[in-house]
Each structure stands twice: as C-alpha cells, then as structure tokens.
Symmetry: C2
Subunit: 253 residues, 2 copies
Amino acid sequence: MKDMSATPSLAAEAYNVVRQRILRGELVLGQVISRRKLAAELGMSFLPVSEALLRLEVEGLLESRPRAGTRVRIPTREDVRGHFIVREALEVQAAKLFTRFATASERKELRKLAARVDGLAVKPDRTLYTVLHHRLHRRIAECSRCPVLSDAIEKTHALSSIWFGLLRRPAPGDAPHRHEELIEALTKGPADAAAEAMREHNAVAMERTIEVLKPYFRMRQNNRGTFFRSERKQKLHGIGAAPEELEVKYQNA
Amino acid sequence: MKDMSATPSLAAEAYNVVRQRILRGELVLGQVISRRKLAAELGMSFLPVSEALLRLEVEGLLESRPRAGTRVRIPTREDVRGHFIVREALEVQAAKLFTRFATASERKELRKLAARVDGLAVKPDRTLYTVLHHRLHRRIAECSRCPVLSDAIEKTHALSSIWFGLLRRPAPGDAPHRHEELIEALTKGPADAAAEAMREHNAVAMERTIEVLKPYFRMRQNNRGTFFRSERKQKLHGIGAAPEELEVKYQNA
DNA sequence: GATTCGGAACTGATATAGTAGAAACTGCAG
DNA sequence: CTGCAGTTTCTACTATATCAGTTCCGAATC
C-alpha cells in the first residue's frame, strides 16, 4: 500500500507493475500470469514477484491454484453482488461524512469534476472517462477526512475498475447528468438525502456491471478449475475476447 | 481466508498459529516477531512464515520495516477512529440485510446468544465472553446472506479483537442488557431502527476502545520507528505492560 | 474424424545459502 | 554515572536449486 511506494523493494516494483497492467487492461480477465516469465522480464528472481502476486491475490484481483497457475480473477455473480453491497456501505458512510466535513472549495471542485465526467460519458473514447470517474469517487472519499475509510474504498474501486474497463461504449439508456445529480445531493442536501443519492448511484452501477459481466459468468461456469496456459486454448475458451463475442459464443452453445 | 484452511500448506499453518496467538493475547501490542525463531519453532523454513506474516500485515495486524523487524501493530487514535467508521458502515449494512433475510430460527438463536453474552459481561473472567461476543457479531453478519460482506466484517473484527483483549475487567458504567437490546431492535424493528441500533452499539464500542488504548497512543508517540528486540528495552518502553501500568508511567513522565 | 494416453514442459511451493542493513552491546572519554 | 563511538549480532531481503503436481501437444487407438 503506502509503505510499498516508500520502500523501494523489488517486491513493491513488481506489485505496482502488475497492478498497473491489470488496471490499464493489458491483462484481461482469466489471463494467466507466469511468475518466472515476469521475473525474467523485470530482471529479478521470482520470489519478490511471488510476494507481489500473493498480495494482489489477497486484494481479490488475482486467483491462483497450487501448481496450476495464477490468473486474473474471473468473478462470479455473487462476487459482484457482494462487492457492490460492501461498496455501497462504505460510500454511503463517506457521503454522510462528506456533508459534514467537505470545505466550500472542495464542493466547488467536485461540481466541476462531475460536469466533466458527465460530458465525457457520451464520447466513444473511454480512457479519459475512466480516469476522471475514478478520481471523482476518490475525491469524495478523501473529503470524509478519514484515511482508513478512503483506503478501504480505494481498494474496492481497484477491483471494480477491472470490470469497468470492459465497458467499451457508453451505456444506452443512461441519465445524461448522473454524476452532477449525485454531487448536487452531496453538496446541497442533508446527510440522509446524500446517503440515498449515493445508494442509488451504486445500484445503477451494479446493475450495469452485472449486465456487462454476464458472458463472463457463463465462461467461469464452463472452465471451472482449469488454468489455460497456452494462448490457443485460451482463445478457444473465450479468454481475452470482447464481451460481445463472448455473448454470441455462449448463446450458440 | 477460507482457502487457507482448505489448503493445508505450511504457510496456512503458520498463518493460523500467529493469528491465534495474537488473538489470544500471547503476543502483545508492539512485540516483535522473529521470522527465523518462529520458523525454527514450527519446524519449517522461514519462507512460508514470511508469507503468513505478509498476509497478516496486509490485514493490518502487523507492521514491518525493511531490515528492522516485524511487530504487532500499535494503532494511532486516527487508526482506531477510522476502523470503527468502516466497521459501522459494514455492520449497519449487515443489520439492514438481517431484517430482510434472517430466518425465524436464526432470530431465536441470536436472542439466546445475546442473553448469554450479557450475562457474561459482568463476570471477571473475559475469555468466554470474548469468544461469544465475537460469535454473536459473526452470526449477525452471516445472516445477511452475503459472504463478501461477512468476510469484510470478519476482517475488521480480527483487528479490533486485539484491542478488545486488553479490556481485562468489565466496563463500569455499562448498560446491563446492551446486546439483548441490539438483537431486539434487529429482530423486531424495521430496517431503519435496526441500523440505528447497530450504529449506537458501535459508537459505544469505539468510545470504550479509545479509552483503553489511550496509554498506547502515547507509547507509540514516544518510540516511533524503533523496533526493540531485547526484552529489557521493551519493558523499559512499556511494551507488554498492562494498560494501568502504562497509564501511571506516562502520567509521571 | 474423434478420443485417449504418455512424455515433455511448465507451474507454484518449499528449502537452503548468501548479502546488506539496522539495533544492541562493549569499552572509552567526559 | 552519563554520553558516544566502533564492533558484534541479529534481522529481513534476495537469489538459486529442487520437488511435486498440472497443462500441453502430438502420436496411437477406436
């Protein structure tokens, strides 16, 4: 976490590299990661690499089976539902604290940020949108003046960012000012209204995420327990494919 | 967590042993843990031990500095406050779900358990009280029917259990039926009332914990950053002492 | 053509050894 | 008795080697 960046150990470097690759989408859902190859690539022995991957596994980004491999975690439907229940609990708490502790300049800054996010939401390019959306939620958390809480929220966001990256185009029936309305409730309304707005915001996010991940749920059902190492087999089972391709694949099957 | 007990690896064994020792109070706040000695004692190389300690560090029970050592984490006041804010968020969520999903038999079971806990609260021996109190909160979480949420709650409880263990005698001005009232609100009342009851329950717990930990906050201030290995120096700085002894120590200073 | 089976290659888990660095100890000066 | 240097001893960290289990791929079989 924070000590990782402070202590320039090899394990910390490996951790950051892999984490960034997952978050930037260079490593897709279900892709296996070889400790040895990664170690060779980064120029270190695979023990620090192993430590980094273990850490990411504890955080829920990876899953591994002894002597089979380590891969980017493919979530189940229950995982996603549970994830959003926890996230709702934390962000509602943050929203309440926000109404008490956020300064006037912070409120202004967030209103501007929300407008930018909503403006970008309809554009086809998702990269900038993803970054700013993440920053918006993080800033809300930071305004709670509770580092432990914002750390916890940050951790849940890292997980859902992976899934979020799969959303390649804007959602069709989307409210055009989702985030502006959220921030409006947070900055203006009483604590109860802020909490309720955050709850609804999260409910929409959950529904959408589950919709996007549906093909992956089926994929996980099918290859439960096998860690495909070769690219050919992975392709054969739909790993690395876009959600739309997966959809037709499993509809035919 | 669960895979740990399922996979009987050496690392899992070390993890459970150290965790149990911390929770049972055999390892006190600020005590350093030697990877090598522990490895020798458990009859394994220190790599699995290292993995276990890393895991406990991620969970927040330990802290380590490169080339200095690993010790049981001494929290700051902000840590404790943040911890209870997160815990409140999660347990309030669990309470709401409890009112929706708990079965009749589960409600009955919890009422009985709460009565036992309150009965034990006034007794001088704390060991059984600690165990049952923990079980009560865990059962509430499990009735939410959301494994991800109960796992998250379980993790926060592991942390606060360490602090809880310092409370060697019953709190004086305590409501005699704290837990029975909580369960009453959970089983009978609407979701809002259940949530509010859980919030108040947590607020009391936080106040009490901060009160008990006050001497340790001062202790941490004093020896920030030094990992004392010899027992003599540790005693000199109050590590391993009971809260009351610490109190007089730092009042005199 | 589809299925099964066996060696080859690879994977994570563990053991052992060596290195760098921080804390503790010892002796000396004030 | 107290404060401070140099030395010693301990620690965590890294690297290499070996083991047991898994996946892969092609040849043999039905």
